[in-house]
């Protein structure tokens, strides 16, 4: 049951990173949310055979990771951990699309391989952008920015509540799974019957817990409305950050810098 422990560790660790202090941490969460979305849209909007044109976009995660003092190795491993999913779907491209697009000496590279690599690049870029957003901002700040963006309050409250009890429930689940595993002489496999009663019991405990929380809230004056203290202020830094990056993304998106650079270099070599 290492799996469960690792998951809750992961969430906790990203939140610990968000508690750090750097010029990027101090930015308005809204600025970071908008910039991240702009980045993802710019990357995803590339033609499916785009490969080298995407390279400049790696500057964004690299700059944010180094300025924000984030652990690059950890984020990279986290992205690699889910890479098999992208490979699973992308791997059909080289099988189906075998039209040669690039000829380097005797080796022909098919369009399928180009679009496959393009998928992998997109994947790494979009996934790290999301991780960077949470580890520079923290989940609660992202939620309060959602409220400012006009997301309905019941939903924001749901997000905050869910996040708050995530750790509690994951811990409880881990304890239950560990208890079973100890009594089953560490056998990894769980049969269906055990599974059902384990999950069923967890559900009953959860429902009881919800009732206890509700009563505790009532005792403290809960009247159906939750007030969120929102003290987000936008400064000129946030505007510069967001508009600067968006301009950079637009520039990268429409001018194929690597191609020009490459033409320059290969032309020089000739």
């Amino acid at each position: 049951m290492n799996n469960i422990g690792r998951n809750s560790f992961d969430i906790g660790y990203l939140d610990t990173l968000a508690a750090g202090d750097s010029p990027l941490h101090r930015l308005d969460p809204r600025a970071k949310v908008i910039t991240t979305l702009a980045f993802i849209v710019a990357v995803v909007s590339f033609d499916k055979y785009a490969l080298e044109a995407m390279a400049p976009f790696f500057i964004y995660p690299v700059v944010l990771i180094s300025v924000g003092g984030l652990p690059a190795g950890y984020l990279f491993r986290k992205a690699l951990f889910i890479l098999p999913l992208a490979v699973l779907i992308g791997i059909f491209n080289p099988l189906i699309d075998r039209q040669i697009l690039v000829q380097i000496g005797p080796i022909g590279i098919s369009g399928g391989w180009i679009s496959f690599l393009s998928i992998i690049c997109r994947f790494i870029l979009t996934v790290t952008a999301a991780f960077i957003l949470v580890s520079l901002t923290g989940f609660n700040a992202v939620c309060s920015s959602l409220l400012k963006f006009g997301v309905p309050k019941p939903f924001v409250i749901q997000l905050l509540f869910f996040y708050r009890y995530l750790f509690v429930l994951t811990d409880e689940t881990e304890r239950m799974a560990r208890a079973r595993s100890l009594r089953a002489f560490n056998s990894a496999a769980m049969d269906f019957k055990t599974f059902t009663s384990l999950v069923g019991n967890l559900l009953l405990r959860t429902l009881d817990r919800a009732e206890r929380i509700y009563r505790a809230m009532r005792c403290r004056g809960f009247d159906g409305d939750i007030r969120i203290i929102g003290s987000i202020k936008t400064s000129w830094r946030d505007i510069v950050f967001t508009s600067g990056w968006v301009l950079v993304f637009v520039f990268f998106r429409y001018s194929n810098i690597p191609l020009r650079l490459g033409t320059l270099v290969t032309g020089f070599l000739k």
Binding site: I4, N7, L37, I40, V44, S45, D47, K48, Y49, E52, A53, P56, F58, V62, V63, I65, S66, V67, I82, L85, I89, F92, N93, I96, Q99, L101, V102, Q103, I104, T126, V127, A130, F139, P152, P154, F155, I157, Q158, L159, L160, F161, F162, L166, L169, T173, F195, V199, G200, L203, L204, T206, A210, Y214, M217, D223, N256, P258, L259, L261, G262
Partner: protein, 340 residues
Amino acid sequence: MHMADALISPAVGGAMWAVTAGLIAYSAKKVRDEADERKVPLMGVLGAFIFAAQMINFSIPATGSSGHLGGGMILAILLGPYAAFLVMASVLIVQALFFADGGLLALGCNIINLGFFPCFIAYPLIYRKIVRGNPTQLKIMFGSLVAAIISLQLGAFGVVIKTVFSGISELPFKTFLFLMQPIHLAIGAVEGLVTAAVVAFVWKARPEILNAAENSIPIARVDMKKVLLGLVVAAAVAGGVLSWFASSYPDGLEWAMFKTSGKEELESHDNVHVSLAGIQEKTAFLPDYGFKKSGAEAVPETEAGVSWPAVDSGTSVSGLVGGALTLLIALLIGLGLKRL
């Protein structure tokens, strides 16, 4: 089942975001109107329960694979469609942000696939119809089994449609469909059995919980017509606006699904018989993108392999060299900033 950003186009992602935003606003309003303050903590904790319970796996005998609890159906049974939809959306947001289980742009797609179908289609149209207000153990088990299977089939179909419309993956519609649906029939059956077993467990231990859920859900007021109409309008508007943007880009965003990819898909089925086992050259695709990379300086193919660097691929080689250089520069910038 979770779709990633890498495989969808901005138009599809944006359209699904718009639809999801509408559904969240509508569900939030409904939940607020219900004015059941007990539900505020209940929804949050149940979301955490789904998240945690999905980490427990059981082994499926004789297959070597394992299964876990699906989310949407059990939430809908305990909370009703609107609250369940909000909970499911919140679970998917956290999974996207912390585990990259589905991307941020693909969030709308995933919420539709895994939240909308179980909560707004399978639950009211199948589970409720089978249980019909007077739950018995058999009805509950049968209802949750069937509803879970159907909602997963719909979700898998949603994945196929959205992937094909995005045009990033090369998989043709039919092949992908025949790949996805049977796999998800099996997954759906397992998920359905799990849901049925857990709901039955709760029914046996504490029947009043399900009875209370059954009575408190004002299901008669689920106005499917309104929901569906809103969905279609939102998708059409968002898709239309975004595709207009897309097609006005100089290099084309490979979307224009009805003009290019839609046609491509059909041709590939009729002429070439693309199958997973016998892979063939897609000659029908040649005129479409054969010279896309080389652009204006389209040179006959035969010359391509002869000289180094080949005339045809000149731009491509430059591209690769330039791409590698740019990556190197990016890395150096990062290292430089770290030193500061």
